[in-house]
Amino acid sequence: MNRKRYESLALSENGFLFDTETGFTYTLNETGRDILQDLIKGDGPQEIAGRLAEIYDVPAETALNDSTLFINYLKTINLVPQDEDNGTAGHE
């Protein structure tokens, strides 16, 4: 996977995201910020979902489904590389 894309994402603690490559800005809520932060760190979808399930006290499958949806959305707006694992491998 091409992780270079993440180098141009300036994500603030308060969820403000500036894409230095395109100039677009975004505002993420706490959960969105955490997921993107984890992706930037290099965590996989299972680890991200596991952490979400623990924080929000939801079943692991729900956390995985929700984070997968969000990661797919980030792919559609080209914030996340297209080949980033979204957690659906082995679930289809």
């Binding site: 141009s8 300036a10 500036f18 230095t20 490559e21 395109t22 100039g23 677009f24 800005t25």
Partner: protein, 364 residues
């Protein structure tokens, strides 16, 4: 250049919602930390807002319109120079460049330095010849056609496909989704800006603007790319932010190497959404009105032009600050009527002692 009697004349003093670059360039020069001289504003209208702003111009002169030709221009500059000596002159508007380039040698002989594009360079980027850049220089530009009548418009529309951009020779660009719409725009634009009208393939993607300075032999002294964040109803940038797209920066350096542009310019670049490829969609032969952002981001390009005009070597700028943003604002300033009176009756304003002309001095 740090003499207190060193004088720089700058045009483009209008500061409306579609401003000239003059005020931005003067602010950048004054921010350089190396300039202690005086600024002469050259204005086409007594009500140009830049004329009256505090801390911008030390002297102001009213100019005749560029349409009166280079002879009238030269005579007016000669008159101003005799009253208030000019060391460097920086034209900033598309419409006046040709006349200034034509009298560059005469200005130089008078001791007035410039750093302007060449006439060939100016011609090369004209909208009517722009589409040739792909064939002649290998610069990626959208397909385009210059048309002078409606039947040619129809044929070009078939070749380029819709939607397409309909552009005037000097200003104005609109998108047309059909031949009927293109024909209507052709008539509007040709009546305003003359013939030919330029049709350009529409590239769907995101537009970026780059303020740049070329050394005239293919080198890039500096370049700062910006993404517009907010537009006026005329489509002019009201806010923007510096970005860092290494591929686009390489594209800009390549354009400059091929064009060998001399002086200030602005590149308008489209990044195609479908495949991320870059297209040069326009070259403006002067700094844009937002050029103060370049100085704010660490590349004081207007001051670099002054140094180049004076024959000083300028090392290429390296990096610039990414994520620097500008927002224009619109506020009312209050002035007594006196300076407006002087502009309309005398055609000049002096806020500093005006004892630096060339009257009685021998010009070298």
């Amino acid at each position: 250049m740090n003499r207190t009697d060193f004088r720089i004349a700058v045009t483009g003093m209008n500061a409306s919602d579609n401003p000239g670059p003059g005020v931005a360039m003067i602010r950048a020069i004054r921010d350089s930390g190396e300039f202690e001289g005086e600024i002469i504003g050259l204005s086409y209208e007594p009500l140009d807002a830049g004329v009256y702003m505090n801390g911008i111009c030390d002297h102001v002169y009213l100019m005749s319109y560029p349409s009166e030709g280079s002879y009238a221009l030269l005579e007016r500059i000669r008159e101003i120079h005799s009253k208030t000596r000019i060391d460097v002159l920086m034209p900033t508007l598309d419409a006046e460049l040709q006349a200034y380039i034509a009298v560059r040698e005469e200005l130089n002989a008078m001791g007035i330095k410039t750093f302007l594009p060449t006439m060939d360079g100016l011609e090369l980027r004209s909208k009517s010849k722009f589409n040739r850049l792909s064939e002649t220089m290998g610069i990626s530009v959208p397909k385009g056609k210059s048309v002078s009548d409606v039947s040619a418009l129809l044929q070009a529309g078939i070749e380029l496909g819709y939607p397409l951009m309909v552009k005037g020779q000097f200003y104005d660009a609109y998108m047309a989704y059909s031949h009927i719409e293109a024909e209507r725009l052709f008539r509007i634009i040709s009546s305003k800006w003359g013939l030919p009208v330029v049709l350009q393939e529409f590239i769907e993607g995101d537009e970026y603007d780059v303020v740049a300075l070329g050394d005239g032999v293919g080198g890039l002294i500096g370049a700062v790319p910006m993404k517009k964040l907010q537009l006026t109803d005329k489509g002019k940038a009201w806010a923007g932010v510096t970005v860092n797209d290494p591929m686009m920066n390489a594209f800009v350096a390549d354009i400059m190497r091929k064009l060998k542009w001399r002086g200030p310019c602005e590149f308008e670049i489209m990044k195609k959404r479908s495949d991320g490829s870059y297209y040069l969609i326009e070259i403006n032969p002067r700094f844009p009105a937002w050029c103060y952002l370049a100085a704010g981001a660490g590349q004081n390009l207007p001051w670099a032009v002054v140094k180049l005009a004076m024959g000083t070597d300028v090392a290429p700028f390296g990096a610039y600050e990414i994520g620097m943003m500008y927002i224009r604002n619109s506020i009312d300033h209050i002035y007594p009527l006196g300076e407006y009176r002087d502009m309309t009756t005398l055609g000049e304003i002096h806020r500093k002692a005006n004892d630096g002309g060339t009257h009685g001095k021998k010009e070298i």
